[in-house]
């Protein structure tokens, strides 16, 4: 049994305007299988379907066609959500709450036992114990990212789904995030994350899926890019360059 399976998934978004209905395809006939205990990267240009795939796994959107199965159970299901920790791109929180309050709220919502004990432990783990009673509006971007990590791990999930966790981080914070992901893998977690940072992806991922315009182009195993530095980037560019909808910028 795989940790996550997307079976022949198609998602068509429908937007109703006053006199017309617009359809756009998020992903089309997408098949993905993420094994237990691996770090799986989703690579693709903007609009390639990475976030759509992640939202389908989390049950935030429903597939037009196909099935999503997580830990053997069909999505959407509360049992599935108990096993997933999610970190969105540039996470937003209730800025008038303190770090301790927001984590307590998420702990209650995840219905875990000993919420306050878990919150205190998590605050120490992410190095925010001294800022526990500060309101989040006073937090820097790096501190908010740590709160994001803390909330995703608070209920000790077996699967972590991170959407662009490296986006907007400085090089040092990016390295810290890469180390965190490797540590979590060592703890036996299954990690699915999307990113544009190919240099980091090739260092930490076991497998990578390249998406383009809503379809799966190919799945690569680590040995396929590990032989030469920059190999993953070369393969990625070769695969997606032809499918980019935007033409060249023509400067005078």
């Amino acid at each position: 049994m795989n940790a996550i399976e997307l079976c022949n998934i198609t998602k068509v978004y429908t937007r109703k305007n006053l006199f017309s209905t617009v359809h756009s395809t998020g992903v089309e006939h997408l098949d993905l299988a993420i094994r237990h205990g691996e770090i799986y990267g989703l690579l693709g240009l903007n609009g390639s379907g990475k976030t759509t795939a992640i939202k389908l796994i989390l049950g935030l959107i429903m597939p037009t066609e196909g099935t999503v199965i997580v830990q053997g159970e069909k999505v959407p299901s509360p049992a599935v959500l108990r096993q997933i920790g999610f970190l969105p791109e540039a996470p937003y929180f209730y800025r008038y709450l303190t770090a301790r309050e927001i984590l307590t709220m998420y702990g209650n919502l995840s219905q875990i036992d000993n919420v306050s004990e878990s919150v205190e432990r998590m605050l120490v783990q992410v190095g925010l114990e001294d800022a526990a009673d500060k309101k989040l509006e006073e937090f820097s971007k790096g501190m908010l990212q740590r709160i994001g990590i803390a909330q995703s791990l608070l209920h000790n999930p077996v699967i972590l789904v991170y959407d662009e966790p490296l986006s907007g981080l400085d090089p040092l914070a990016m390295q810290v995030m890469a180390t965190v992901l490797l540590d979590l893998k060592r703890q036996g977690k299954t990690i699915l994350f999307s990113s544009h940072r190919i240099a980091i992806v090739e260092k930490i991922c076991d497998r990578v899926a390249i998406l383009s315009r809503g379809s799966l182009v190919r799945v690569l195993e680590q040995p396929e890019w590990a032989q030469a530095s920059g190999e993953l980037e070369r393969i990625f560019i070769a695969d997606v360059a032809a499918s980019s909808e935007l033409g060249r910028i023509k400067l005078p």
């Binding site: 959500l81 999610f86 937003y92 008038y96 309050e101 709220m105 919502l109 219905q111």
Partner: protein, 254 residues
Amino acid sequence: MTTFFSVAYYTFIENIRKKIFYGLILFGGVMMGASVLLSVLGGQQTLRILLDLGSSAIEFFALLGVGFSAVTLILEEMESKTIYLILTRPVSRFHYLTGRYAGLLMALYAGMLAMALMHVSLLLFNGWVFHARYVLSLFLSAEKILVVGSVALFFSLFSSSAVSSLSFTVFFWILGHFSGEINYLGTQIPSLAGKLAIGIFYYVIPNMQYFNLRDFWDVPQVMGNWVWLSFAYGCAYSAVFILLTVMLFKRKEF
């Protein structure tokens, strides 16, 4: 239910820490202070003017608060994506939505209570004798907030735009004060279809007159079952709108 209480509690905490919350209370206080100056013009009716202007100010600022807060209560969460971190946990959409609404109402009621304390102090300072009817009148104003908030929340998910939902809510609120006139209009229309249309409209629009106990300070016979019937009406009306909102919300994708 833990999830409902948790969402409600932290929504309450979040709202009472906002500067706008204290701004509304402050404006309510300033309005009551201004009523002291106006009451000088009232001659023998100084207390009546203080009473009416003060309770109107409490209701007006609470309505302002619920109108603006309820239309953005879920929309803002969707735009800022804070909703992702809630709905990706085992929380039912019903508990999330009702919890958010309950938390907002608790914050607004706390604000109303603070304004009411200022108002009562002002009245007592001017020689007023406390009467239980004041509490009942405040209670029905709170019920009005409940009704307007549920309408605003429904429109916010129905139209997905804060401006149009606020416009619809204000439209309902204004028409709600003319329910009697709408009903009368229905009796004057000769065609059956017209009567039916006006009849439906009459029942869809909330009858705000049921909550205006403060208009009948000097009519003791108005009391009786009024308060409890109005309370039941307000609860039933809000429940219908909240259930409709939950139905819309369950179909939403993020």
